[in-house]
């Protein structure tokens, strides 16, 4: 098999996991580049063969695809690679950044490359679960995502910002604004995470999901938070975030018509968010960016993607999903 050359920019909590996943895949050679303060040398040493550290990631390296795992925004970097004719996988979880990444659609089509937008934990795995759950419905009219936990420091900062910023939810064909930290709902996540209060927040999931499900009437995304999180979200972060957050979880509710009745399907997942995001980005690079079968921007819940095969690949890499089997509200 011909060696694939996949670049990774950023070697933090997510980037190092992407590198580990790709380096463990036969026929893949990984090129790592840091952003300031990164740890590519240590990551490459810990992984070993099939990883090369480069000073800067650029088009002359002959890349088949590049994964962007830097802090947000990533759109400028993504545009540079698209212009050079390289497919891109972005793990950005910033709403405005995701919105601008969609703006690369025409350019990506013109250059014949794929830009996978939101290939992380949420958005990313959340969108795959939504599509998988939706596949058993005749029609879907509601999608609701709940997220618990954070990955690395950049993700923790994003969580902090999201709680104090205005959320956008999709309702009956229009975007509605909701104050960050409002709209408390109790979200039940797979064990051992259990129940956590979740709130509106500035999350990109509704934008990504609407791309994949343009006919759905209601889409929302909530973030779990403690009262202290909500209180301190209005203040600057008072201490440095942890190197990596603890166990996180996802809950994705899909409502619609099935067997002539209005029903709900709830899927969930549990993992360290950075570990899951690393696996999702790696599989997205191998399944979407390298084959380059859908030039333009692609969301992971896109109907053209073989979601079952994607999730099966993730399960083999240790990222498993679960289905809620109890009563729904």
């Amino acid at each position: 098999m011909t060696d694939l050359r996949i670049g990774i920019v950023g070697t933090g909590a997510v980037g190092s996991r992407v590198a580990r996943q790709l380096a463990g895949t036969s026929g893949v050679h990984v090129l790592l580049a840091d952003y300031p303060g990164g740890t590519s040398d240590r990551v490459a040493t810990s992984i070993g063969a099939s990883v090369t550290v480069v000073g800067a990631m650029h088009e002359e390296l002959g890349l088949d695809a590049v994964v962007l795992a830097t802090p947000v925004p990533q759109v400028a970097l993504a545009e540079r690679f698209v212009l050079a004719g390289t497919s891109v996988v972005s793990v950005s979880d910033d709403r405005d950044d995701v919105w601008r990444l969609w703006g690369l659609d025409d350019l990506a089509k013109e250059r014949g490359v794929t830009v996978v937008v939101g290939a992380g934990f949420a958005p990313g795995l959340s969108c795959l679960l939504a599509r998988h759950a939706a596949s058993s419905f005749a029609s879907v009219d509601e999608l609701h995502v709940y997220k618990h936990g954070t990955g690395g420091p950049a993700c923790a900062r994003q969580h902090h910002k999201a709680l104090r910023s205005t959320a956008q939810i999709w309702r009956d064909g229009d975007w509605r604004s909701r104050a960050g930290g409002s709209g408390r709902e109790l979200g039940w996540f797979p064990d051992p995470i259990g129940a956590h209060d979740c709130y509106n927040a500035e999350l990109p999931d509704p934008f990504v999901l609407l791309r994949a499900f343009p006919d759905v009437g209601r889409i929302s995304a909530r973030l779990s938070a403690t009262r202290r999180d909500r209180f301190t979200s209005r203040l600057p972060m008072l201490r440095k975030p942890h190197v990596e957050g603890a166990l996180g979880a996802l809950r994705v509710e899909v409502r619609g018509l099935r067997d002539g009745q209005r029903q709900a399907e709830v899927l969930g997942a549990i993992d360290r968010p950075a570990v899951a995001a690393g696996a999702v980005a790696a599989v997205a690079a191998l399944r979407l960016a390298v084959p380059n079968t859908h030039p333009g921007t692609v969301a992971l819940g896109d109907v053209r993607i073989d979601t079952t095969a994607f999730l099966a690949d993730l399960a083999q890499r240790g990222v498993r999903a679960a289905r809620f089997t109890g009563d729904h509200r």
Partner: protein
């Protein structure tokens, strides 16, 4: 009057701390989770 104000201030601070630190209760979940097999549709 000053003592009354101070008492209200202290009570407010205590309530705020409890409110911020409190965890609240959650009702029991009706049902459980089962791992998905991707050989089949849900």
């Amino acid at each position: 009057m000053r003592r009354l104000g101070l008492a209200f201030l202290v009570a407010g601070l205590v309530a705020a701390v409890l409110r911020v630190r409190g965890k609240g209760g959650a009702p029991a979940q009706q049902g459980g989770w089962e791992e998905l097999s991707f050989d089949q549709k849900p």
